[in-house]
Structures are given as C-alpha cells and as structure tokens.
C-alpha cells in the first residue's frame, strides 16, 4: 500500500529509497542485537557504531550508522524542535513531508528515484522528553529502518549533544550500500549532513548555502525559505 514506485533494478534506485527512509530515521533495538557476536577486548566506552569491524557492528543483514553533534542550545529546546517531525523536510534533503497520524504513528513521503515518491509509516517506540526519541518503520516498508536519537547536556554549558543511530536493511545488500555511497546517498552521509543542517537551523536560524540565488538553489535551502 505504501509503494507507489519501487524499482529493485538498480542499487542507485534502492539507495535513493534508503536515504529517504533513513533520512531522519533513527532508532531501534539494533543496538541491542548488534553485540551478539564479537565483544570488544577489555574496557570500551565509545559508542558501538564507532567500533571496528572485528567487534561486530552489523545488525542482522543490515547496517548501522551513527553520528554525534553538539548544538549550542538548551536540551529542552533541541528535543522539542526534533520532536516536531513535520519540520524534518526543512533540514532533511530527501524528505518531502512527515505527517503525524496519531500520537505515535507518522506517514513519511520521501524522494525516490527519477522524481518518484516513496511513502511509508513509522511508529515511535520510545519517547522520553528531553532524553530520547526512537522509532521504527513498518515491517512491510520498502526499506526497513529504525533510529534512535538521544539528547544529553554537553559539558561546560556547550549546549546539547545529539547522538543519532540509524539501522536499516540495505536493499541490494552490500552492493546496494556501496552504490549508495558512490552517489552520496548512503544513510551515514545523509545523517551527518542532516544533523549539520539541524544544528545550523537551531543555532543560526538558517541553512548555509553557497547558492547565488540566481539559479535554483538546493531543495533543503529553498524549502526553508518558503517556510
């Protein structure tokens, strides 16, 4: 029901789907499952997504990416801005809209290959105000994904540390993921840029762009201008 267009034919197409899905996506019990096999040797305090291959970081057949960023704003403010999913298109390049269906469910529309639109639904699996938001896509989504975003006070009054972990089933497996990387549509790259844009919006009120304004500018930037 959510698949208006879906093309299994190319890694790129799949990748484009992934990115949308994972665009803001974040969360899941991925973190719990990741660690079944290899444990790190000795004490280890870094987040799991930073571990070397040897210490297992795969999620079933899927992939996990993570990224942290510090936003110079109070935790309450950062959390509540993030909690308003309808603003995601402002800083997520490939997300067209996020429509809340009820307290926990949302319908996402993301850009797919060749101008198509891919839709799927997510539900919030964990929501502790000012601390964590986690959500997970429906099982029948084209690109199963889940994410978890945690918010912590940064030391020394530096604002709020956001840590985002995304787990997703890469369509096309490893090959699909590589293709996605080639086109910079890999969720890790996307998540990094989306966090940067979120930070820019929170701190400066706008999204930095080198556009001269005389040609069509980036989608994210132009959407912000309209809002």
């Amino acid at each position: 029901m959510h698949h208006r267009h879906h093309n299994h034919g190319t890694g790129r197409a799949l990748a484009a789907g992934v990115l949308g899905a994972a665009a803001g996506a974040i969360v899941l019990m991925a973190a719990r499952n990741m660690m079944k096999d290899n444990q790190p040797i000795g004490p280890e305090d870094s987040p799991r997504h930073a571990w070397r291959r040897g210490a297992k970081r795969r999620w079933r057949e899927g992939a996990v990416v993570g990224r942290s960023i510090t936003v110079n704003a109070p935790r309450e403010e950062v959390y509540s801005r993030w909690r308003d999913f309808t603003t995601f298109p402002n800083f997520m390049e490939n997300v067209i809209s996020v429509t809340p269906l009820d307290q926990t469910r949302s319908r996402w529309a993301v850009e797919g290959p060749a101008g198509s639109t891919i839709e799927f639904e997510t539900k919030i699996t964990e929501d502790r105000p000012n601390e964590v938001i986690a959500w997970e896509s429906d099982e029948d989504a084209d690109v199963r994904n889940s994410g978890r975003v945690t918010f912590r006070d940064a030391p020394g009054g530096r604002g709020t540390e956001i840590e985002a972990v995304i787990a997703y089933d890469p369509p096309g497996g490893a090959v699909g993921r590589m293709a996605a990387k080639l086109f910079q549509k890999e969720p890790g790259v996307q998540a990094k840029r989306e966090l940067r844009r979120f930070k820019q919006l929170m701190e400066t009120g706008e999204i930095a762009t080198a556009a001269s304004g005389s040609k069509p500018s980036r989608p994210a930037a132009s959407r912000v201008r309209k809002s």
Partner: protein, 397 residues
Amino acid sequence: MRALVWHGKHDVRVDRVDDPKIVNPRDAIIKITSTAICGSDLHLYDGVIPTMRPGDILGHEFMGEVVEVGKGNTRLKKGDRVVVPFVIACGKCFFCQKEQYSACDNSNPAEKADMSEMLYGHQMAGLFGYSHLTGGYAGGQAEYVRVPFSDIGPIVVPDDLEDEQVLFLSDILPTGWMAVENCEIEEGDTVAVWGCGPVGLFAIQSALIMGAAQVIAIDHYPRRLKLARNLGAKVINYKNARVYEALMDMTGGIGPDAVIDAVGLESHGFAPDNIYDYAKQTLKLETDRSHVLRQAIFACRKGGRVSVPGVYGGFVDKFPVGAFMQKGLTLKTGQTHVQKYLAPLLEMIRERKIDTTFLISHRLPLEEGPKGYRKFAFEQNETTKVVLKPGWEKANG
C-alpha cells in the same frame, strides 16, 4: 554582472555571470567598490589548492556598498559602506562565541563540509572565493557579491577614510596582526618574519606596534625588503646571506624569540630540502612545500614561539619534529579570526597608527584582473599588491 572567474591553472577571465540575490534572511548584497588580489589567491592561480572548479568566482578581499539586506539582518542598511571579512562566520556557534570565527561550525554548507572533514578531521568554515573545501562561495572580485551572515561579518567604515585605507581589514591586515599576537611578544623580543609579501609586511608593522625590540625580515626581492626596512625591520636577503647564521649573529647567538612563516605552501629557494619538496609536489607525492617552516623552526630559540599565518593545504614531509620537541617550541596558526580584529584595527587606522596604503603597487579596472594575477604571480619584486576597481572603465593602456 562581470566577475573574475577561475578556469584552471594560470587561467582566469572576466566573464558575464548572473547577479547574486538574497538567499537567506541574514544575507546582504554588496556592490563592490574595491577588491584586492591576495597572495593566497596565487595558490589558486597556481592550481595547488584542491577542489577549485572552472566557473568559480575568485576574491576574498573586498569592500563596497550595501545595496540589499535580508529581512533577518537588522544591523546593516542600504547605503552602508562596509569592509567584508574573508571568513564567513555565523556568530552563534561555540567557536564564534569564543571569537574563533575561522573555526565557525555553521558557515560551510552541510554537503560541502564532508570534504574538509575527510581531509582535516573537522569541517572548515566557509570562505569567500576559496575552493569548495571552504564552501564554494562566490568571491568578491566581481561587481556584486552575496554576503551570508552579514549581520556578523561586515564592518561599517566612516566616509572620511578612503577605500585603500581600510580595504585590507578584509584579510591581510588582521592576518598580519594575529600572526604577531600568536607570537606572544615579551619585552626585548626579536621576531623573525619569513616572507615580505603583504602579510609579512603587516606582521612587521604589527610586531613593532606590539613592542618587539627587533624585527628581522627575510625575503629575496629587493623591493619588498626595502618596504620592510622602511617599516623599521632589519632585513636578510637569503640570496646574499645564510639565514640561520645571520639570525644567530643578529640575536647574540640566542636565535629569534618568535618566528613567523608568512610564506606557506609554495616557498621559493634552492635549499636541498626545497628541491626535494618541489620534486615531490610536482609528482603529487606531497602537496605542500615547507622549506620556510623547517628553517624557522631550526632558527627559533629554545622555548620560542612559531607562528604560521602562511597557508598550508595538505601534507609536508620532513617536519623537524625533533627540533620542535627538544627545544620546547610552541606553534600557533590558523585562518584569521578577522571579525575579532576589525574594530580595534579600524580604530588604529583612524588614529593614523597604521597605514596600509604603502603596499599598493597597482590599481586596475576589474577587466584587467587577469593581468593583475599575472603580474602578482610572475613579477613579485615590482608587484606588492594589486587592487581591482569594478567601477572603473577599462584603462587606455
């Protein structure tokens, strides 16, 4: 509008391009009245800075008149005469609030920031007209420029000061000043400055204002050494003298207390290590030549300070880490936090404590920009600074 556009190594042209428009609320559009070619533009001209693309508009030293202001900027108004810092800074992030503007976290567009993060471990701030590593922003060697975060950067200058008195606030004057601030000068100090280009000359001026007992300038162009001497420096022409021996003799065998590398990644000279570097740079086994930095570290006194305003982009070989560690040196460097220095330096210009106009050797209409680059690159003895005037008609000769 007309703009000076990079097309490749030693190929810059004046092209017709679209006028810039307001994109973000804090933007302003500036009509350029004066813009200069910077020594660091020559690194772009020589093709040694990665991620330049044909079509990029050059220029990061410029000033002009505000012709349009975004609705989020309440500080500037139409008609203001402003000098614009080459560093684009948001004013709101952790770094800007520490006045480390050139480390701004938010001015490099998210999709461009990956490159410098991969190269340097962290993303760089946005700069005008200086490759896509620093955001791919259009520069100011043009009739108009879009200035992001224009409520933070540009400083309004009074009408009783000529363009040429204040233009260099955009980069080289604060860069020379910060280079000396990084030397943490104490009473009786000798400061040695490698490179008598604009930044080196302004560093000499700054060091004397900040109380250095002696400033020694090192270069090989007689005209530039003459300018250094006019400012009050002693000079060493490395074609005449062995620099290390000369410096030791001029400091009672102690060595300079602080050393400044105002040359950067394309140093000249025929020392064996430089020839080695040149060969490696040509073969792309090494991106930066660093003869000056090695020599400066070797000459610096024990416990002394090393300041590097000169631009480096990538990697160097044979960094004398042994001398650096064993002598307990301190190294400070970085792109200039221009915004921090604008007001105090403008005040010194008004009080006539600093004059920067002596530097200018050529004034050309924008149309003759390509000639300006050629002269600055290949006639360095005669060409100390080129100022371009977008408002001037093409000169007769």
